[in-house]
Every structure is written in C-alpha cells, then in structure tokens.
Amino acid sequence: MEVLIQNFTDITLQQVIMWIIGGVLIYLAIAKDMEPTLLLPMGFGAILVNLPNSGAAAVIDHLFEIGINQHELFPLILFIGIGAMIDFQPLLTNPKLMIFGAAAQFGIFFTLCMASLFGFQLNDAASIAIIGAADGPTSIFVSQMLKSNYTAAIMVAAYSYMALVPMVQPPIIKLCTTKAERKIRMQYKGKPVSKRTKILFPIVVTMIVGLVAPDAVVLIGFLMFGNLIRECGVLNSLSETAQNVLANLITLLLGITIASRMSAEEFLKFETLLIMGLGLVAFIVDTFGGVMIAKIMNLFLKEKINPMIGAAGISAFPMSARVVHKLGLEEDNQNFLLMHSIGVNVSGQIASVIAGGLILALVGG
C-alpha cells in the first residue's frame, strides 16, 4: 500500500503536462489523421516514460541507444523503405524540376541563422534548422550526428509540421503569388524514361553526393539503395518488403523510441517552444524559396511555370504535391499540376538529404 501511495505522491506537475502532450499527440494522430504512424507511438511513449518510476523508461532508453544513438540505424533503415516507395519517373522526365527542390531548402539555412540569432549553439541551431528538410529520418540523423540536446523537440516539430503541410503552405503560396500566376497551366510532356536511366539514377546520385558530402552519403545511399531495389526489376519481393514490412516495423519502433527523449525534465523547456516556432519558420521560408525561384525563372522563360509548383520542393511527400495540385484546381478546375508537383516533390526528397549532408559537412559531424 505504501508503494502505491509513494507512486502517487511522486507524480509531478511536469509529468502531468507531458501526459497531456502525449494525449494531444494521440488525439491528433487518431482524430485528425496527422502522421498517425509516428505521432501515435510518440504520444503513447511520452505518457509511458513520464509515469513516476516508470519501468518502461529503461527499455525505451535501450532502444534509443541501439536504434538511434549509436549509429542512427532506425532512420537509415527507414530510408531504404522510403527509397523503395519513391517513383522518380516524373523527375527523370523533367530533371530541371530539381532546381525547385534545391531552392526550397532555403528555409533550412535561413532557420540556421535565426536559431543562431536566438542564442543556440551552432550544432543545435543546425539541428533545429534541419526541421525545414521536412523529412523525419534526415532530422533525426543530423541532430544525432551533431549531438544536439534537443532531439525530441526537433522530432516532434518535424513530424507535426509535415502533417500540417496542408494548413501551413496554402496561405504562404497565396501570399507569394497572384491569381493570374496560380492559373498558369502547364502541359505535361510525359516522355518515356528508359529502364537503364532508372537503374543508373540511384547509383549516380549516390556517387555524386558521396563525393561532395561524404558524411551524408549514408543517408542518400540508403535512400537510393531502396530505390535501386525498386527499379532493378529482379527484386520485386524485396522491394515490396522494404516498402511495407520494413518501413512499417521501423516506423513503429522509431516513434516510441523517440519518446525516450520526451521525459518532462528534458522536454519541458522554453527552448522547446522556441524550436517549434523556428520549425514553422523553416517550413514557411522553404515554401517561399520554392515559389520565388519559380517566379524568377518566369522572368526568363517563354513557356511560363506555375510558381506554385516551387512550393512542392519541400520534402513532405506527397502532401506538398497534393496541396499544390489542389490549389491549382481551386483557381481553375482544368489546371492539373499533379505530375509537375510530384516531380518537384521527389526532387525535394533528394535535395533535403543533400542539405542534411551539407549541414553536416559545414557544421561538422
């Protein structure tokens, strides 16, 4: 009986707040369908590790140690699954779309400066900035490599904003574009892409990125390995396993493992709020960067681009592409931008990983 009373008296206000945060994450996952595969395990994990004298904390800590802390295994293995899921055909048909993917990483570097301005040390500022990659595994990988003190807050921000893309991006896109620009129609010239190109693409990209940013080659390498499995045509069952079983299993463990960093004393800090704010800035500036480069290109192009597709350059796949397509249809119900925005969106996947690699190379892993 004494032990029972002891457990109740050990409950702190901070722990109760973390239960509420966990509950909110679970609510958002179930009721609002926001990244449920990650927010639900994270929410449940947040409650689990914040019970007084929780016996689960040690187990989840161990998972964190072997799955994330030592060699960032979980995010890397997840990348194999993501690579197997991505069809790069729309990008290979029109490789110039990659420019938008590159431009839409501006939010990362802008946020790095803003986080520095607010007093975060360079390793933490860079880790916070990588929220703008709109790519969970990249965020985990970079923040771990840079030994950031704010991994949990960064994770929560990264996945929350990815889920919030349909709410965050439209007002920014509308603010940066005129009605006439949003109505620009783009013809889709679906040129066939050879199987040889599809197979060589992941190999070549890995080699290029590996030569420029060797620290990040593991990120792009695992992503492209997954894509090679998909495109080679002789490993269909492995490709399906990577896309479904492997990706699901790792996602399941990843969410609950991140929760090990969500203990009240680690998570409930003023900096967490600041990180959430800076993460939002990263997403906004990413969107702005992508749209603006399209507008600049339009100054020189005869055949105009709908600048909204630039916004799909953030990595949040495929939400961002859908947002752009939907906005196009809102302005003109015959304006189908999906194939263009998907092409830009997958280029954002690659560019965000390159950005992660460059951050590591420039800030130091």
Binding site: M98, F110, S116, Q121, T197, I208, V212
Partner: protein
C-alpha cells in the same frame, strides 16, 4: 537577447550551403539529362 555574433558565424554557412545545393543539383540535372539523351533510343 539576440546574439549577433552567432548570427555572423552562421551566415557563411547559409551562403556555402545554398551554393553547395545548387552545384550538386546542377550536376545531377546534367547527368540525368545526359542519361536521358544516351538512352533515348531504348
């Protein structure tokens, strides 16, 4: 409290980072365009 010194320290990283992304992207665009040309008959 704003830390201008830390901001100044991170500005070159922003410049180099964006430059790096555009260079790598440019190389990838070039290679893919080349691959598409070489294999267009397949």
């Amino acid at each position: 409290m704003l830390h201008m010194d830390l901001l100044m320290q991170s500005l070159p990283i922003m410049g180099n980072g964006m430059l790096g992304i555009f260079i790598v992207t440019g190389v990838i665009i070039g290679v893919v365009t080349l691959l598409n040309k070489i294999t267009s008959g397949e």
